[in-house]
Amino acid sequence: MRGSPLLRALLAFIIIGLMGWPLWQLTRPQEVVASTPAPKPAATVATTKAIGLHLTFTTVPKSFVIRHLDKEVWKVTAPAVDMEQQVTLDYPDEGVDLQFHVEWPDDAPLAALRVQLTDPAGDQHEKSVWGKGVVDEVVTFP
């Protein structure tokens, strides 16, 4: 009944092994898994639309550049007093920021640029840029 010490030791080892396995399963470090798989954020839909731009200068500049999201959308090196252009850009409901870089002649007095923007819905919005020499300004529409 008592058996040999070797057999008893072997039996004890097997019992510990059998108890240890579920214990290890319960306590082992695990990677936390989210209850639901993380979905990708909804993709932003690009809404490229035709925009009308109409510029009127009080003093004709040497040049101007208009950028949208750091990309050039209209550049003219010898502009006229009055200019119109259709450009295409992403125009979300929240509006757009246009970056204007205008170079007026050094000896020109304080000058202004009137910007009329016709949005994709056909509504007109008007803003002004004032300055002397080289002017960098961000104009928000609407």
């Binding site: 954020p41 909804a42 999201l69 979300p92 509006g95």
Partner: protein
């Protein structure tokens, strides 16, 4: 007799000169106001900043040594808009003769729901997140210093003009940087509601995980609402702040898959490096936002 009269006259003149050269003692309870006072006052002021960089001003309480300094101050600058809940005690405990100026009360407040009592509307105290408000604060500090020392009016006017010009430059830089970020991507999910002034000036929508104070804990309903908004609006990143523990943010990222952007400075200046100045702190916030959301 004549000699002793001349000696007395010389002594009085010297004493008056020494007195005139003594800097104005200023106590400030905002890291932003500490910088403004130093910039505008120059060497004509000795500014003690009681709220140190990196300290949450929502949780700050003055210690006895602070009260001692305030008692001696000629000008005490407070953020106001209920940021300093201890302002009443400060007046009583110090018996100060100095001018106590609640700078934030000098310009309009944005209103918001109190997280502690949703039926209550409170002023948003984080006015420095608008460069325009900070410019107004500079003018208030300039005028208060001039009242205390009219003889230094020109110094304060010149210093303020120089600092205002720096802030004008910052405003232009901010507009130019944000122009790189489409307006439909200007959704700011932050760890506490400290960016309303910034959002209003720059066309952002805010989803604050917590309420107005960084001490508040968000409800599971509010977290659920934010998770839904992030999914619906396709927000790309969320922003912890320098002082917060972003534990709740981690949970939101797990639910939505958005990334956690580097921390923003909501309640004041940082301790070291670029963010230890107002311009540096503001540029850090804007660059971080643009980089994470574009």
């Amino acid at each position: 007799m004549k000699a002793s009269f001349l000696s007395l006259l010389a002594f009085l003149t010297l004493a008056m000169a020494v007195r005139a050269a003594e800097p104005i003692r200023v106590s400030s309870f905002s890291t932003i106001l500490t910088e403004i006072a130093q910039q505008v006052g120059g060497d004509r002021v000795a500014v003690t900043g009681h709220v140190k960089p990196g300290i949450d001003p929502h949780e700050f309480e003055p210690k006895p040594e602070d009260l001692k300094v305030v008692g001696q101050a000629q000008l005490i600058l407070l953020s106001a808009k209920h940021m300093e809940s201890y302002v009443g005690k400060l007046k009583q405990a110090t018996g100060t003769q100095g001018a106590m100026v609640e700078v934030g009360d000098g310009f309009a407040s944005l209103k918001m729901k109190s997280e502690k009592d949703p039926d209550k509307v409170v002023d948003d105290p984080h006015w420095w997140q608008s460069v325009n408000n900070t410019e107004k604060a500079v003018k208030i500090v300039r005028d208060e210093l001039t009242k205390i020392s009219p003889a230094d009016k020109q110094v304060f006017t010149d210093n303020a003009a120089k600092y205002l010009s720096t802030l004008d430059g910052l405003e232009k830089w901010v507009k130019s940087e944000l122009a790189k970020l489409p307006r439909d991507k200007r959704k700011l999910v932050t760890s506490h509601d400290a960016f309303q002034y910034f959002a209003k000036e720059n066309g952002f929508t805010i989803h604050a995980i917590e309420g107005i104070s960084s001490e508040d804990q968000p409800s599971s309903k509010k977290v659920g609402e934010i998770v839904a908004a992030i999914k619906a609006e396709g927000v790309k990143a969320i922003f912890p702040e320098s002082i917060e523990n972003p534990k709740v943010m981690t949970e939101i990222t797990r639910e939505t898959g958005v990334k956690i952007a580097p921390a923003l400075y909501a309640d004041g200046l940082g301790e070291t490096g670029d963010v230890a100045t107002y311009v540096g702190m503001y540029k850090h916030n804007v660059s971080t936002i643009v980089e994470a959301l574009k």
